[in-house]
Amino acid sequence: MEHNTCRENLSSFLDGELPREEKLSLESHLAACPGCRRELAELKRVSAVFRKHAMEPAPLSLKEAVFAEKPSAPFFSSWLKPAAAFAAAAAGLLIILALPKTGERKQQASPEVFQAASPASIESLPAAYKEEAFQSPSADDGADAKEASSFSAGSLASGGGGGSGQRYAAPAAARGAYGQAKFAGSLRSKEAVKASASSVPLTGDPALAAFFAEGNMAKRAAPKTIPDIVADGVRFSASHWRETGRLRNGGSIKAFDARTSELLWETRVYEVPEDPNLEADVQQVHISSLALKGGFLEISDERGSRYSLDTRTRKAETLPR
């Protein structure tokens, strides 16, 4: 075996991945070549150092994040338990009153805000991302892809619904519990609806604990993906997600250099006050449309409010509906 071929094969040799003949040939070369022996020894050392140092412990919060879903912390903090209990009880009453109506709503197949789905998935994945994330099913992860794509389609379909005035009409606490119960009703039994309506997710009910542990919480649908607008070398973006950091309840516009994608500026067109006692995402009010007219961005939000943003001064004003 030639010296160069030997060097190319050292790594595979180390891993025991070399076919028998090549292995024999390499061994005889090694016996005669101190340079290759030294190199092999160093590669072994590289492997050893990697094995020794490359692993980092997974953060403890990962397990929590995967299994506990993401109920907002204050909601579950101990001093809020009585308030949460009261809210859920009140919500339960509303659900019982509203049950027949729920049936009607299902039949009409109207856009629903509250999705039975894993909030972490919805929250952390922009719609476009979800679409691609599941595009490459293979023999091994076919089930995952299938399941995920049906989820994706469902949430996108309802997320696309336009009019949203009534979405935010009901008291927020009631909405949250309504969504939970609806989820339970759609996937489980009526008993499950009653259970979630009459008891509280904090009382230690094992069925509910399991329910939450499995990650079943009501969440809003993903907001509409708003295409960026490019004009005069500037790209305006109303992304709902990562670009806005943790402030995901909407209203943020960013401008980039269209060529270099350098962030030129970012501004919030409107603020959405967040009640820390409620799940964050159901309170989000995202931008639902974006248009550029003569240097002004015309923006609508999911509540139907309209704004005009001067792209030069970056001042925003509210427009009549």
Partner: protein
Amino acid sequence: MDAKELFDKHAAMVYNLALRLSGNAADAQDISQDAFIRAIRGLGGLRDGSIAGTWLYRITMNVWKNRVRSEKRRSFWKTFSLDREKEDENDQNALQIASPEPPADAAIEERDEKEALEKALAALDPEDRAILVLREIDGRSYEEIAGITEIPLGTVKSRISRSREALRQKMGSLLKDNGT
């Protein structure tokens, strides 16, 4: 295999794959979380529990790939800390990954070794780092790695060889000093 078992068995590998792919702890956690949530959703359809690891690591790779694609589309590469052209940031990053505790005398050598490794790793392609994790830590065969990363077998072989050679070059003096 239930979801908890899947998590307990593979969390460390998934996280470290994600860490080597993304190059920072925050993204690694996000990727791991997304990967597990996807995997747990599809767990019922997994017929053969013995391939759960392979399947889960592939999901992790896909979650990362999709993130990169999505970030690229928004041209947010700059804010990502693992741009290969940005040596300085990579160096800082390597230090971030390194242990923050001040070492005792006896541990200085170990710390240097780890820092040297992190610096050398920072210059590798993210996928190459992940391949090394699969090979060195999880002991996966080249064929399994090809399956997980969806990279041809021959390429896996040459990439492992190339990565090790790069690490050997960068950590040269350290390897010689310590002898073998």
